[in-house]
C-alpha cells in the first residue's frame, strides 16, 4: 500500500514516458529487486537420503525373501540388538561378539530362543532356510563402520552436520 501511495504522489511530477507510466514501472522494479534479494531467504534446499539395501546372494533363498530378511535383521532383530547389531537389550551380534560360537549354536538360538530371557523363538515366523541365511549373514559380516561417527565433543556450541 505504501508503494502505491508513493507512486501516486510522485506521478504528476514526472515527464510522461511512452507506454507504462513511470510510477508503475518504479513499482515493478522495486518489487523485482525485493524478490531477488529475498529469494535466498525463501529457498530451502531439500536433503537427499540414499537408501542402501544390498542383499547378499548366499544360497537359493529368493532375492525378494533376502531383502525381507535383511530388513528383519536390521529392524526387528535390531529392535533389541541395535540397528547396527552392536547390542541393546540383547547382546551384540557383531563378529567380535560371535567369535567362538558355532553356526549350529546360532541357528538353535534363533529357532528356539533362550528360555527365561527376552530372546524369543523365531521358529513360528522363519523357515529353516531363512534361519540358515540369517546365520550365514551374521557370520559373514565384517565389523560395522558407523555411518555417523559419534561426536565426542562436550559443547554447547551450535553445530550443524
Amino acid at each position: 500500500m505504501r508503494l502505491a501511495q508513493l507512486a501516486i504522489t510522485f506521478k504528476p511530477s514526472f515527464e510522461p514516458d511512452p507506454g507504462v507510466s513511470s510510477g508503475v514501472r518504479l513499482l515493478c522494479y522495486s518489487l523485482a529487486f525485493s524478490l531477488v534479494t529475498a529469494a535466498p531467504l525463501l529457498l530451502m534446499p531439500p536433503a537427499a537420503i540414499a537408501e542402501d539395501i544390498s542383499p547378499v546372494s548366499l544360497d537359493s533363498t529368493s532375492k525378494a525373501r533376502q531383502i525381507e530378511l535383511e530388513n528383519l535383521l536390521e529392524q526387528d532383530c535390531g529392535s533389541c540388538h541395535g540397528l547396527l547389531l552392536n547390542g541393546g537389550l540383547g547382546p551384540s551380534l557383531l563378529p567380535e561378539a560371535l567369535k567362538g560360537k558355532s553356526a549350529e549354536f546360532l541357528k538353535i538360538t534363533i529357532r528356539d530362543g533362550r528360555p527365561n530371557t527376552a530372546m524369543p523363538p523365531w521358529e513360528p515366523l522363519l523357515s529353516e532356510a531363512d534361519i540358515d541365511w540369517l546365520v550365514k549373514k551374521l557370520l559373514q559380516k565384517t565389523s560395522v563402520p558407523l555411518s555417523k561417527e559419534p561426536n565426542n565433543k562436550l559443547s554447547n556450541e551450535p553445530e550443524e552436520k
Partner: protein, 402 residues
C-alpha cells in the same frame, strides 16, 4: 524543473523506493520467521541418525537435522520453554536440538548404550538411563555437563544392571527400574551433586519398562519375567512396592514376544489404565482406584503402544511384528474395538496433537508418517519420512513423566 533535475529526481526516487520495498519485504519475512514452538515436534528417522522438525498447525515438515548418531531406539524430552529437545540415542549420544534455529545446540557421548531419559521437575537436569554401563547419569540441561553418576550396582557381586523406565516425578526426583536386578530406585536430585537414593528390592523379575500416572503419584513397572506389574505409590513409599494383576495369565502359555511393549503415561483414561499384556493378544484394563483387573480386550496382535486420546474417550493400539501393519481403536466406555486401520507395514508409534483432534502415526517400512482425524478416522495427510519411528510433540514439556 529542467531535464537534469528531473533525471536526478527519478534516480533518487527509484533508490528510495527500492530501499523502502526491500525493508518492507524483509520486515514481512522477519515477521514470518518469528514463531512459537507449541505446535512443533520431532520425528526420529531411525536408520539415518536424523530427525525431522515438524509443525502440526499445517502438518508440514520443516527441516531435517542430521548427525545424531544411532537412533535405532531413541526418545525425546523437551525443555520447560518448549524451545529445546533432548534426544537420547541408542549409542549413548545425547543431543540438544534448538527448535527455533533448527539445529544441534549441544551434543555429548555419555555412555555406550542407552534407552531413554527424563527432564527434572524444574527443567534444570537431564537424566539418562543406560544399558552400558548400567546406571543413570545426570546432566545440566543448559550445557550438558555431567552433574551426577548413579551406577546401578546390585547383588553380592556388585554387578551393573541395565536401567529402564526412567521418569521424572515431583520433588525433583527420578524413578527408574533395574532390568537385571529386579529393583526400583527413587533418586532425589534436590542437591544435584549428592543424589539421595532409596532402593526397593525384589520387585519382580525383569522389569522391562515403566510409566508414571499423569498426577505423578503411581510408578508402574511392567514385568517380563513374571505375571503382573510392580506398583509404587510415591505419596506413600513406606508401603513399599506392591504387585498388581498377580494372577493374570496364570497357567496360560505365553506367546513368544518379538518386541517389548512400551509404557507411557497416557495409558490412563479416567479411572482406568489400559496396558499392553506381555505375550498375549490382549490389552489389560486396570481400575486405578483398586488396582484390580477390570477387563481384558482381545486385540489383533501383541500390543506395543496403548495410547489414550487426550480426552480419554478412545485408545489407539499398535502391534508387534509380524502383526504390525494394523491400528485398532477401542472405546474406553464400552471396551469394544470400534475401528481398525491398515496404514501399512511396521506402524511403530503414534502421537496425538495436544488437544487430540489429529494423531500422527509412523509407518516405518512405507517410509511415511500418516496423519488421521481422530473423530472420522480419515487419513488427512501423508508425509515422506525415512524409516520413521518415534514422534514427539512439544506439549510433552509440561507433562510429568514425559
Amino acid at each position: 524543473m529542467n531535464i537534469n533535475n528531473i533525471n536526478h529526481f527519478k534516480l533518487i526516487s527509484m533508490l528510495v523506493l527500492f530501499l523502502i520495498s526491500f525493508l518492507f519485504v524483509t520486515e514481512v519475512l522477519a515477521q514470518a520467521a518469528l514463531r512459537g514452538t507449541g505446535d512443533m515436534g520431532l520425528i526420529i528417522e531411525r536408520k539415518t541418525g536424523s530427525v525431522q522438525v515438524l509443525e502440526t498447525t499445517n502438518n508440514t515438515l520443516i527441516k531435517r537435522i542430521e548427525g545424531l548418531g544411532d537412533l535405532s531406539h531413541a526418545s525425546i524430552v523437551y525443555s520447560r520453554d518448549e524451545r529445546y529437545a533432548y534426544v537420547f540415542g541408542r549409542d549413548g549420544q545425547l543431543t540438544k536440538i534448538d527448535l527455533l534455529e533448527q539445529k544441534i545446540a549441544g551434543q555429548i557421548q555419555q555412555s555406550g548404550n542407552s534407552i531413554g531419559g527424563a527432564i527434572s521437575q524444574d527443567g534444570s537436569l537431564i537424566a539418562v538411563s543406560n544399558y552400558k554401563p548400567g546406571g543413570v547419569k545426570v546432566f545440566d540441561a543448559k550445557n550438558l555437563k555431567l552433574v551426577a553418576d548413579i551406577p546401578a550396582i546390585y547383588g553380592a557381586d556388585k554387578k551393573l544392571s541395565k536401567v529402564i523406565g526412567l521418569v521424572d516425578v515431583p520433588g525433583q526426583k527420578f524413578v527408574f527400574s533395574l532390568w537385571d536386578a529386579g529393583e526400583i530406585w527413587v533418586a532425589d536430585l534436590s542437591i544435584p551433586l549428592k543424589p539421595d537414593i532409596q532402593k526397593f528390592k525384589d520387585i519382580g523379575k525383569n522389569p522391562y519398562d515403566a510409566l508414571i500416572t499423569p498426577d505423578g503419584r503411581y510408578y508402574i513397572a511392567g514385568l517380563f519375567g513374571e505375571d503382573g506389574m510392580a506398583l509404587l505409590d510415591l505419596w506413600h513409599t513406606e508401603k513399599g512396592v506392591t504387585r498388581i494383576l498377580p494372577n493374570y495369565g496364570k497357567g496360560e502359555k505365553k506367546l513368544p514376544v518379538y518386541k517389548m511393549p512400551h509404557l507411557e503415561g497416557w495409558v490412563i483414561a479416567g479411572n482406568r489404565a489400559f496396558v499392553p499384556a506381555v505375550g498375549r493378544h490382549e490389552v489389560l484394563v486396570i481400575n486405578t482406584n483398586t488396582w484390580q483387573e477390570a477387563g481384558r480386550i482381545k486385540v489383533h496382535g501383541q500390543p506395543i503402544f496403548v495410547m489414550a486420546r487426550p480426552d480419554g474417550r478412545h485408545i489407539w493400539v499398535n502391534f508387534a511384528h509380524p502383526d504390525n501393519d494394523t491400528l485398532q481403536i477401542i472405546d474406553t466406555e464400552s471396551l469394544k474395538i470400534i475401528k481398525e486401520l491398515k496404514p501399512g507395514k511396521a506402524v511403530l508409534h503414534m502421537e496425538f496433537e495436544p488437544r487430540g483432534e489429529e494423531v500422527w502415526a509412523s509407518v516405518r517400512d512405507e517410509d511415511q508418517v500418516d496423519i488421521y482425524d481422530t473423530s472420522s478416522f480419515e487419513r488427512i495427510n501423508t508425509l515422506p519420512v525415512t524409516k520413521p519411528s518415534g514422534i514427539f510433540f512439544t506439549v510433552r514439556a509440561h507433562k510429568v513423566g514425559l
